[in-house]
């Protein structure tokens, strides 16, 4: 005989989690991560409330913090929305970092070695940046479509190839003669430096391209046939094949755009922030990898990338505040992002299932 008083909870699968559920659970996961991090603060002898207040003041509470968040969220936004597109088709592009670097390399070539006239420099920087990232991403697409090579491996490994290409260039043929032998290219001439908002680092042309890309990806996914094909392949390659959807052609367009957007992020960094090519770990502060969480957290919805890239930009800046004002080691930022990712993944199951009360006649 069933004992109804013991089994009063029922767990059933949710058919289609509503937006309220998805947003609610995501926010709860992030807040839980912040709560747990509060214990890390306590362990350091710091009042967590004081720490979070200081973080709020120094990130979103003043102009300096906001401008820092925004310039760091530009590459996150571009890489993030590109990855969102790739992930929609279940092409796990872990290579945004390398695609970003190759875009930076292409942009540097345009600036210092192409000899283009001044007035088309900036458009060419973005065009070549896009091309650099796109080509880099397409290689993995080709290998997957024609030879079934796992894209996680190819995209990831190509990050290291890109990194070493940059190292080779800045130490060798592209080392600037004005740099006292240090591994940097020469500084970009004025005509190749992107305009910024006032004295901040916010290179607004790239930001604009980022916002336009979000609109573009949104339109592709909701209004075009390509978007439909992307989503079908993402759900089931079998079904796509039966529907006559060509795999390689779709993946080609997806990786062209995904890699290209990361390439634009790289071009934006070197032309807008650094005005030279420098060590790869300085050009990209792990943007290509953080963009994976940015894309994933947006749950397949391009406009949300604006929010999620802003969130992770804020986490970067929060880490700076913790380091300087409270003496945390620099790894604190990784702890933050790691915990958030952990709770988000754990909360996935909460979204898929619903817990309700069992009725008498069940």
């Amino acid at each position: 005989m069933r004992n109804d008083r013991m089994r009063f909870l029922k767990i059933e699968k949710r058919e289609n989690p509503s937006w309220k559920v998805i947003v609610g659970v995501s926010i709860a996961a992030i807040l839980l991560a912040f709560f747990i991090i509060g214990f890390v603060f306590v362990g350091y002898g710091i009042n967590p409330v004081k720490a979070y207040i200081e973080i709020l003041i120094e990130t979103v509470g003043n102009v300096y913090g906001l401008t820092q968040i925004i310039w760091q969220s530009i590459p996150l936004m571009l890489c993030g929305v590109g990855l969102l597109l790739a992930f929609k088709t279940s092409f796990w592009n872990i290579g945004a970092e390398g695609q970003l670097l190759m875009g930076a390399v292409a942009a540097t070539w345009v600036t210092l070695f192409s000899g283009f006239p001044g007035f088309i420099m900036i458009p060419m920087i973005f065009a070549f940046g896009f091309a650099g990232g796109a080509v880099w991403g397409l290689l993995s697409a080709l290998l997957k479509a024609k030879f079934r090579v796992n894209e996680v491996i190819t995209t990831l490994m190509m990050n290291y190839i890109a990194l070493n290409i940059v190292l080779y260039l800045i130490h060798g043929p592209w080392k600037g003669d004005e740099m006292r032998g240090f591994a940097y290219t020469n500084s970009f001439p004025e005509s190749c430096c992107l305009p910024t908002i006032g004295i901040t680092y916010i290179h607004w042309p790239t930001l604009l391209i980022g916002l336009l890309s979000i609109c573009l990806i949104f339109l592709i996914l909701t209004r075009t046939r390509l978007g439909y094909e992307v989503k079908v392949i993402g759900q089931s390659r079998q079904a796509a094949r039966y529907a006559g959807i060509p795999y390689f052609r779709t993946i080609f367009w997806v990786m062209l755009i995904s890699g290209g957007l990361a390439g634009i992020a790289g071009a934006g960094e070197v032309a807008g922030v650094h005005h030279m090519l420098r060590h790869p770990d300085q050009v990209s502060l792990g943007y290509g990898y953080t963009a994976i969480i940015v894309a994933w957290l947006a749950r397949g919805n391009p406009p949300l990338v604006i929010l999620t890239s802003f969130l992770f930009g804020a986490i970067y800046v929060a880490g700076d505040v913790l380091q300087l004002s409270f003496g945390f080691p620099f790894q604190i930022v990784n702890v933050f992002t790691g915990l958030i990712l952990f709770f988000l993944i754990s909360s996935e199951s909460l979204m898929q299932y619903r817990i309700t009360l069992r009725r008498k006649d069940d």
Partner: protein, 367 residues
Amino acid sequence: MVCVLFVFTAALGLNAADRLKVGFIYVGPIGDMGWTHAHDQARKIVEETFPWVETVYQESVPEAKVEGVIDRMIRRERCDVVFTTSFGFWEGTIDAAKKYPESIFAHCSGFKRLPNVATYMADFYQVYYLNGLMAGALTKTKKVGYVGAFPIPEVKRHIDAFTIGVREVNPKADVHVRWIEAWFDPAKAKEATNSLIDAGCDVFAFTEDSDTVVQVAAQNGFPAFGHYSPMYNSAPDYVVSGQLVRWELFYLDFLSKVYAGYYTSKNLENVDYWGLLKEGAVEVGAKFDMTINPVWKGRLGKTYDLVMQRLEQMKNPQMVFDPFAGPIYSRTGKLVIPSGERADYTHLLTIEYAVKGVFGAWPGEPK
């Protein structure tokens, strides 16, 4: 010395400060055993020595974020002085200095100055020369190994000075170089050391911010020279000597001058501190107060006396000896320092050539 300064400046009626808040911006983690660790040790000594100093710091700051960190240090933390400890921080430092003309900055290993930006550096090339003399005496295979970080003038200068020392004592010995393209990478340092051991090297020196090379060499029974931090304790039977630095000499001097009002935000344009053996900024030793490990002293034979003699000559305020004194030939056969001349400051700072006796890849080698 500092007291005299106070009395002097008080007499002149210069504006002295009550307290100083000082910010340090580091390029790497304070837990490395190299560059950043040494700056942080110096920071702690400054805090212990001067009760009127309070310090804050941020580690592993990316080059593009320096200006933002300086913003926070000056606005929120109310720092009066900021030290930026990496060449790559020059742009952030200069841009921030223009934004905050009342604040004082000093940029380590930089060369651009402003009325409120001084530069400072301590260099090891003389110490590497002394280590080279010892390495030349100790090597039995006539192959000395060097694990290098990045092929930039600073590291090339050190390898060249080291090789000049090796060859002075052992004209047939060679220095084999492996580049790991990182300041801190124990895994690559280990690989490089093993590769040098396989090539037949039996004495080791390096530029890397950990004691990996020392440990790997010791595990194989080979002597090595510590780098940057005292590494004697990592292998007391195998660390012969090494390069040591005292950044606190600069920081104490600079900050006391700021405190006394002698250095202001208007008169730093020509302040460029270049610390060598004679300034006491750098020292040779396996640890402080141990110039040469007694276990190895006997094996050096007559070279011990040579090392001590050269050390005194270079510590002499007139600097009666310098390793980069002509004639010096690059390994491509070019006479890079003519007979009777010494390399000047600019030459030293922009060295790209490899001297005779260096073996291995040398990116950016001039023809």
